[in-house]
Symmetry: C2
Amino acid sequence: MGRWEPDAAGRLLEAALELFSERGYEQTTVADIAQKAGVTERTFFRYYADKREVLFGGGTELEATVVASIAAAPSSAAPLEAVVAAISAIGLLLDERREFARRRAAVIASNASLQERELLKLAALSTAASSALRDRGAGAAEAALAAETGMALFKVSFERWVASPSARSIADYVKEAARELTALAAKL
Amino acid sequence: MGRWEPDAAGRLLEAALELFSERGYEQTTVADIAQKAGVTERTFFRYYADKREVLFGGGTELEATVVASIAAAPSSAAPLEAVVAAISAIGLLLDERREFARRRAAVIASNASLQERELLKLAALSTAASSALRDRGAGAAEAALAAETGMALFKVSFERWVASPSARSIADYVKEAARELTALAAKL
DNA sequence: ACACTCATGTCAGTAACTGACATCGAAGGG
DNA sequence: CCCTTCGATGTCAGTTACTGACATGAGTGT
């Protein structure tokens, strides 16, 4: 057994999520979170670069999933197809953490600066997807556009998933949104 | 004549842009900006809600342009067509402030927290576009997807415009990206 | 027993932001 | 011409996010 309770980062995340949910993001200080997790404020900043980042720890994992998923797409798949597969894969990941993802989304929806951070993470995902598409032979312009469009699909799919109380998978919403996009673009 | 030099907000913006360009965003304090503009730090925060916001003053105008543009689209226009027209209108606005838009874009590109703010403003634009589409009779789902897709088009168009030294209008890049999107979506 | 590591604590400092109150030139009424 | 009011600004004290430097102390291997 260690000198300290294990998994300080996880305890900080749980403490933050609870406090943000109860009192709101701005009404919670980092000192509050640290105290609830049984560490000092300084330790919080050793695990998370800033107060918001505590809610965005899984970013690397998501990025890896996107990249792997695009790399694994059959070479016959069109760029948008590969991206749709990638964001469906992310959807499956979130399905596994259904409870957590919803709590987290509710907190983020209630605070603008958290939304900013979320959008930045999505943009990072888009950049990763674009790069992975280029590795598959797509042109730079095509890759960037397909990646951004994919993020648009993800945003609306995730929104619908959060808004709906049903147990449907995010991947379902993605499929649906992709069909709608085809229809919209056909009328352009 | 007033007691103070006129247009404090404008002076603050100009001071901020110069300092951010020279030293970088993080190496510039709000006190630096205020001093260069000839006011106190407190006055800065009376005009701008936070340090980043000084670069994002035109948001309301852009939003109004988008809403007006979508409202003005002929009822025969498909949702994505209306959105493409709206972001082309924004492009024309930026063309008018070419110089400023490029300096500003360079500063934003160099700092993550400024990128966050920019993404949030874009998201606000998307929400406004979605709402304007619904006012024209579009369904909620269709409107949200068309708006988000439009922002994807805008992002890649603006990126290409910034990267290119030519004098082409942003609207040209939007048109080009829209054509590419049609091709990508057709293969879905 | 000893040194060494590593997660944590302690502490002082900077800079972003906020609320409360003071100041003072201008503008308008009497 | 004075007086009042108003609006933009200044002053100041306080909170909180975040950082760097250094101290501590239990485990780990030798």
